[in-house]
């Protein structure tokens, strides 16, 4: 990708400025279809639910727009020859919601234990404690989600097998097929039914991102 440099103070290292080529821009425009916007919005809506469950709010508009804008301005490097734009956008949304979730869990922890920060602890101890908290919260949430889905999928053998696979930390279709011995078609149908069960989750688990005024990101 062609790069340019800006004027700098003495001793400062030059940072390349992203300058897209016409070919790069044409490829991006070609892949930036209405369908991609729709898919990214549906993906971001569900990912935002994870953050909401940690007590924070995140704007679906911002998630989708930032993922594309960060690619446009070169903050996120995209090579059209290496990955489709949809994967790039999805990855950016996944990464940002994961970080937002972790931040929200930490924030909640500090507000619940305001005096803990004053204790003398090494950086490693602090990091480990934070990681424990993330895992504890995530464990509770994942368990709650899977158990709720299990209840809804009662009597649906393949959906239960799929949840068993999640329990066994198998997530990719290949891993799930290896764990459950399901065919591609059976797996697809089980995932479809599980997605429908998810839509029937109780309100506290099914919470969707609330529309709100822009510029009030938490």
């Amino acid at each position: 990708m062609p790069a340019d440099t800006t004027s700098l103070d003495a001793g400062e290292e030059a940072k390349p400025v992203f300058a897209p080529t016409p070919e790069w821009l044409a490829e991006l425009t070609k892949q930036l279809t209405d369908e991609l916007y729709a898919k990214a919005t549906r993906y971001a809506t569900l990912r935002a639910q994870m953050v909401l469950k940690a007590g924070a709010d995140i704007d679906v508009d911002d998630l989708v727009e930032d993922a594309i804008a960060d690619t446009l301005d070169g903050t996120l490097v995209w090579d059209p020859a290496k990955c489709p734009l949809w994967f790039q956008v999805k990855f950016a949304i996944r990464s940002r919601t994961r970080h937002a979730y972790v931040r929200a869990v930490h924030k909640e922890r500090v507000s619940l234990h305001p005096h803990e920060a004053s204790r003398v602890r090494s950086a490693a101890e602090t990091a480990l404690a934070a990681r424990d908290e993330e895992d504890r919260h995530a464990r509770e949430l994942a368990t709650e989600l899977i158990e709720a889905l299990r209840l809804l999928a009662h009597g649906d053998r393949d959906a239960q097998l799929l949840l068993d696979a999640y329990d066994a930390q198998s997530f990719t279709p290949q891993e799930v097929m290896a764990t459950t011995k399901m065919s591609t078609k059976r797996l697809r149908n089980a995932r479809l039914r599980l997605a429908r069960y998810r839509q029937r989750l109780p309100a506290e688990l099914q919470r969707t991102a609330r529309p709100r005024a822009r510029g009030t990101k938490s």
């Binding site: 821009l25 916007y37 919005t41 679906v60 446009l72 995530a138 997605a195």
Partner: protein
């Protein structure tokens, strides 16, 4: 009961799996359609800016040569007669049907252009 312990990676993967399936096979709600449209509008504006940046820089404005003194000395009637002469003898054509709309200097520039 779940048989295995979950952690952040597990939760992240479950939500990714559910979200991916929703993205690939779900149907957008009216609210999601509005969000997608809003984002598209803003991204299109950024794309237009990037495309503009790729255009070659415009040429600097052209400075006209000064009108030669011999033409400056002529009045409007003389200029119109000169144009008529050029049209008749050199078979030149110009788009101005009504020369009344042109100033004297416009006529002088037109003559210079036709004589080039």
């Amino acid at each position: 009961m779940t048989k295995h312990a979950h952690d952040l990676d597990t939760l992240d993967a479950i939500y990714d799996e559910l979200a991916m399936f929703e993205a690939e096979h779900g149907t957008s709600t009216p609210q999601q359609k509005q969000i997608a449209q809003r984002v598209k509008t803003r991204v299109e504006a950024r794309l237009a800016e990037l495309r503009r940046n790729l255009l070659p820089a415009a040429d600097p404005p052209m400075r006209l040569r000064p009108i030669r003194p011999s033409l400056l000395a002529l009045g409007r009637d003389a200029l119109l007669a000169m144009l008529e002469e050029l049209r008749r003898t050199r078979a030149v054509q110009y788009a101005h049907c009504n020369l009344q709309g042109l100033s004297d200097d416009d006529l002088r520039r037109l003559i210079e252009l036709l004589e080039e």
